[in-house]
Symmetry: D3
Subunit: 247 residues, 6 copies
């Protein structure tokens, strides 16, 4: 059930059944020579719709822009500063809390979001702890779940890509977006085949260390077929997780 | 050309042709008994893709959550505080400016965004005017364009809906989303047929004045067919506007 | 009744009659070769005193500095960043709300303030809508009224200045300040007679487009006599507006 | 020379002579049974105009609203939060610095502003010290001067009022405003004659300690004549101070 | 070498040798019935001094207050909101960067700081990536290192405490503070022996889940002797880590 | 009683006796050729422990980093921007207020903190005055006390150092830290013997006016013995002050 395609009366009805909601959160940033700039937003969005079909969960609109300062050396990348992203997460949660939502399942597509979104949860909880929360706000529970963390997904990634999976512009995430948008599959050579690895600092430093944007991956191995398997496994993993959280 | 489905190298190529970009911006808020909560985001998104096909314009991911504090009395509505939205617009523009973009065409779907987004533009320009902008930022031009403002669209709205068009949950916007998402067309009775009108203050006041969320409209008149006519007219109106801006 | 010249007991008495207040808001920015830098603050201040005499309205001290980033290319211009101005409007309203004021009539002298002040109103309403407003704050109504918008004023502007009225450093606003401060009438030639028009971005761009600061006007036509007619018409227009708002 | 009554070309000429400017800063807050709510803004404004006549100094528009949280228990009092006032002072100084002003003489009318305005100066200097100031901003010098601090004023206060001078709603400040606005002189009895003294915390606490708003004063002694003597002495004291600062 | 006990000339000399610095960061929060409220600050501070002796590293003053909103249900706990802590880390790093420091080794004593401090690093890097950093700031590298993460420490914790180690008010951290402050060793019974485990939300929820403050630990097992072994192992682990970072 | 070495149950017990607390606040900044960078934090910390022993007062962890923007021209100096320091003081007070503390005795070691910390108090009080404080927050009283202000200390300073005391890197503060850390006494020549005096603006200006960092002092006169006398006098002065405040 997509929030964007529902009426407010339908949301009223949903709230009689459950007060939990899925919020896909991603990023808009380079994903190497053959990955989409929207990869990190499209993955959780696609999966959230899948979980929604599987479980009846309500899916909020995707927060497509995340914390991606380190990617700004590559055209098309967009970042929110961490303090901006904290404010966004705060406002989204506080708006929904007014309607009675009290459990927020952030389905995340970007490792670079984890710290900031977790800090945002603390900023929100601190409103309760310091007694400055909106005067009728219920106790809230926020959860950040990376789509790739489940056992099913991990097993397929390992089986199909092994060491070439990498940590940015990974084979798995590129595959998943190819499955979701098969008309946009890209072809590109990788030099070297497997990208270098290293630490992450600012955007200038990043571009020097990782000249084509990838970290540790060879996404030439990505495919629609792999994406389909990953999609099914991820929907299964995450639906279970959601059911436990929303119960 | 959708930014989310492009690689960074494709954006590099685009920047050789033009340094302008379309950024759809909307809202997530109730739209009465038969309108989608995502109406204000889905309209500019749908049209931006149309303009992109028509003109080759690059389309950034939609900013789906806007300034909608007055709708918080209805379930599912989400707002950013104005100061949060200003920070978001600032970060998006400054990120893209680093890559060489210098003209920003915000295609807007929500009247309630106009003041805040315009203030955000001033906040961005003030960085130049006070000399605190990023040290290599070029002069920037930001434009806010409401999708419904063009002559073609206005003529159709008037012809089809006349006084029943209204100003929130309008027949035209509901029609446009029905055209984009025909599987989700809703049926609902309207009481009264044409909703009341009045000023807008906070969410509690809004709910009292406008009990089912509509202002001045009778969106029962909305249809897929009307949506198709509006879509075509709007793409035509806006493509011309975009070409002039990006030239 | 001027707030600055009243005691707190007199304000207590006023509050027994009405809980509305006028807050003049302007700007401090260049107004071309013969206009005062204070034009946009002096106009609403002068008129507010007039309305106060006419209707007994309480007039707060003028917020003399507004959002004028685009004028910073001309000496003496001062801006608040939009986020600063939002905070100022918030604090002023929240202070007065503590005393029981609940209707705020911002009499505005500067087009460049409209977006930011309107955004500030939403920031204030959002405190109610998100339940974070001061614990005993009543429902509030804020209104922004441009002094030049009334029928009486528009008719005189059109009659006296026609196309030479312009949109910055207008004949009407210069006339009104000449009427209020006849000892400071300035003489200056205009080249060209009618200033150019165009869009507004940052201060550097503005100075290039509008070399002497005016937009579209020929304020050489301004006079004390015109100012007097405009003053009387504006006080009449605005007193009616105020009475309706405060009722 | 009043900035509000000057043109930008006149300010350009002024800047050839000196790069210093006077900025009157006050407050809008209760001043007991017979003092104006605007006392703290009207005093420095009146004196700044006097200094301007005496020395040719340029006088910016008065910042009429200051830090007055402790007075919010009395109707009509308005405060900026300290962080808001810091932002205002920062924006005013940075705007003027763009034009070449580099010495800022804040003529202060309110003890409660001292800490916050001094903190604002440090916030501004920190931009230089941390290298984040606007890229062409010169080194700046800000000075806060209380109008009542000079020897001449102190001697008159002591002579005329002695122990009844007090520290809020003082005989001297009430006299000075009576001199400036003789048509608005108020009559009120004082109970007790001399108000109590004590520490300052929040507004609720303040109202309990100081039931009619005064601290330590008996402003029934205030008079137009005393105001005139104070005015002349203050203009003399402050003109000397200004000349030394601007030299 | 302690920054607090050095002169600025000694720091100048240090900068000729290395531009890295250790910044201990902790928290002020309850640590169960027998743990110090300062545990999380005292551990990294004590160890930083040890590393300093071992390697000559310069040690900044401890940031003793961290992100501890979830502990506010227990007396004496203090939190910074995440956004405040981000500002603090930013200011500390930017101040030191002005002197030429460019590598910042945050020695952390509190799991609850990790997200926020990592977000702060991104906020700092974003200044470079968006070109708004101080105009002469060098490229920076920030590292967060938890004191308990090294192999040596982990082995001892496992050997001595096994399952009773827990995750808050752990046997190891209590032991380490007992070693550092042997005169303050506390005696207290634990009911139950091993504390419950569970997720962390706001402070009210935390107190219900973890009634005496501990999570998963039995710190009755803590001892000065264990603390000494942990101290030595940690200094060894961390000195190696520091040397690699500072090289 | 040191908060850092207490358990939460011990704080609960303390709160039954008194709801006041001492918070040492200092700075991390150059103190001339023979003064510690930590002088301004170490002085109030040392004295707070002394007062704690004398009176049983609870002592919070020292806020070691203050407002020191003007010292950034000297290596090792660290500043918080005023707005950051305000947020820190706010969070510390609001955290402790949740536990029932309502009187906050900030024992200050740095003149440069006075304005900002005083502004922070007003920011905190304004939450009460504007009704936005945490919903169960009691009325609060905050006091800033400079350690050197007492009669006993002043008499010794005058007797021992006279005109050579100065206002930054004073003989007294250097002596007090020498007494507290006798193993770290420094030797350095002073040229000239007594440092120059003057106003304080930004860090570049400061370094030009005060080339070795001192203002008006000759801290070569500092000694452990003088420090001991000052320590005893200060503990006596401040214990009396604390008792009056906490009563």
């Amino acid at each position: 059930m997509r929030l964007q395609l529902s009426t407010w009366q339908e949301v009223d009805d949903y709230l009689k059944r459950t007060t939990a909601i899925i919020i896909p959160i991603g990023s808009t940033e380079q994903h190497g020579p053959n990955g989409f700039i929207g990869t990190d937003a499209l993955c959780p969005e696609t999966l959230a719709f899948g979980i929604g079909e599987e479980t009846g969960a309500l899916v909020a609109p995707t927060l497509s822009i995340g914390m991606a300062q380190h990617h700004l050396g590559f055209s098309g990348s967009i970042t929110l500063r961490p303090t901006t992203l904290i404010a966004v997460v705060q406002d989204v949660v506080n708006s929904l809390a007014r309607h009675g939502f009290d459990r927020f399942f952030f389905l995340n597509g970007h490792g670079g979001n984890i710290a900031t979104v977790t800090a945002a949860f603390s900023e929100i909880y601190a409103e309760t702890s310091l007694r400055t929360a909106g005067s009728n706000r219920p106790p809230l529970q926020c959860k950040l779940k990376n789509w790739w963390d489940g056992e099913g997904v991990q097993a397929i990634s390992k089986e199909l890509f092994g060491k070439a999976e990498g940590s940015h512009a990974t084979c798995s995430e590129v595959s998943l977006t190819y499955f979701a948008y098969p008309d946009h599959v890209k072809t590109a050579e990788m030099h070297p085949e497997i990208a270098p690895t290293g630490p992450i600092y600012d955007a200038d430093d990043y571009r020097k260390r990782f000249p084509d944007g990838r970290i540790g991956s060879n996404p030439k191995l990505a495919s629609v077929e792999a994406g389909e398997r990953l999609y099914k496994a991820a929907v299964r993993d995450l639906s279970a997780e959601w059911r436990a959280f929303a119960a």
